[in-house]
């Protein structure tokens, strides 16, 4: 069973869950093309990047 302390820890974690870190939080500020993640259709490429030679 969880102790009272664990229940409190969970409450704090749960609160943090609703404002989890964003990938841009660990990146240099980009004013012109900031990250704007959004749901894209599954048939679009899901991984960025192109062949380096290309």
């Amino acid at each position: 069973q969880l102790t009272v302390e664990h229940e409190l820890q969970f409450k704090m974690l749960q609160a943090a869950f609703f404002h989890m870190p964003h990938p841009s939080d660990s990146e240099r500020l980009r004013l012109h093309l900031p990250r704007q993640p959004c749901q894209t259709p599954l048939y679009y490429p899901q991984v960025s990047g192109l062949d380096p030679l290309v």
Binding site: M20, P21, P23, S26, E27, R28, L31, H32, L33, R35, Q36, P37, C38, Q39, T40, P41, Y43, Y44, P45, Q46, V47, S48, G49, L50, D51, V54
Partner: protein, 183 residues
Amino acid sequence: MVTDQFGMVGLLTFIRAAETDHNLVSLALGSDLTTLGLNLNSPENLYPNFAGPWAETPCRPQDIDYHVPQEYLTNQQIRGKLAPVKFDRYGEDLLFYMFYSNAGDLLQILAAAELYNRDWRYHKEDRVWITRAPGMAPVDKGPNYERGTYFYFDAQNWRKVPKEFHLEYDKLEERPHIPTPGG
């Protein structure tokens, strides 16, 4: 037999409980770790492109900061002089670049929307952009399809390639939906 939780019956009870309680599954049977978005067969190290514990894909090339000579950092000087981002000003080449290098980002959708405006259509099954070859009408056309020569954009070789297609209209994406800000 051992009748408490520490024998085979205990294991069986836990497995049976996990069949209905999805929270228990992840501990009872674990999960398929190959679906976490990491290329576990990669001959290169994963950490240089690791995008974080909750990223489904590795870092995009543009996300990886690198310490370059200070002289290269001209953004402070030119910042005020850059034109705002407007997709209708860009060539197809750049639109395709934006589309393929910004997976999961609003920029991908905006690039797709502009390509749609320029009569490119995204084939949902073949996963390529297609447009009609100028001056070449379809050789066959029905209510739900057409057939003829089209250009598709080959992202691997970075060029437009003519090809014959039998196009079912329902396989082509309609106008991309641009999410509302904050949505």
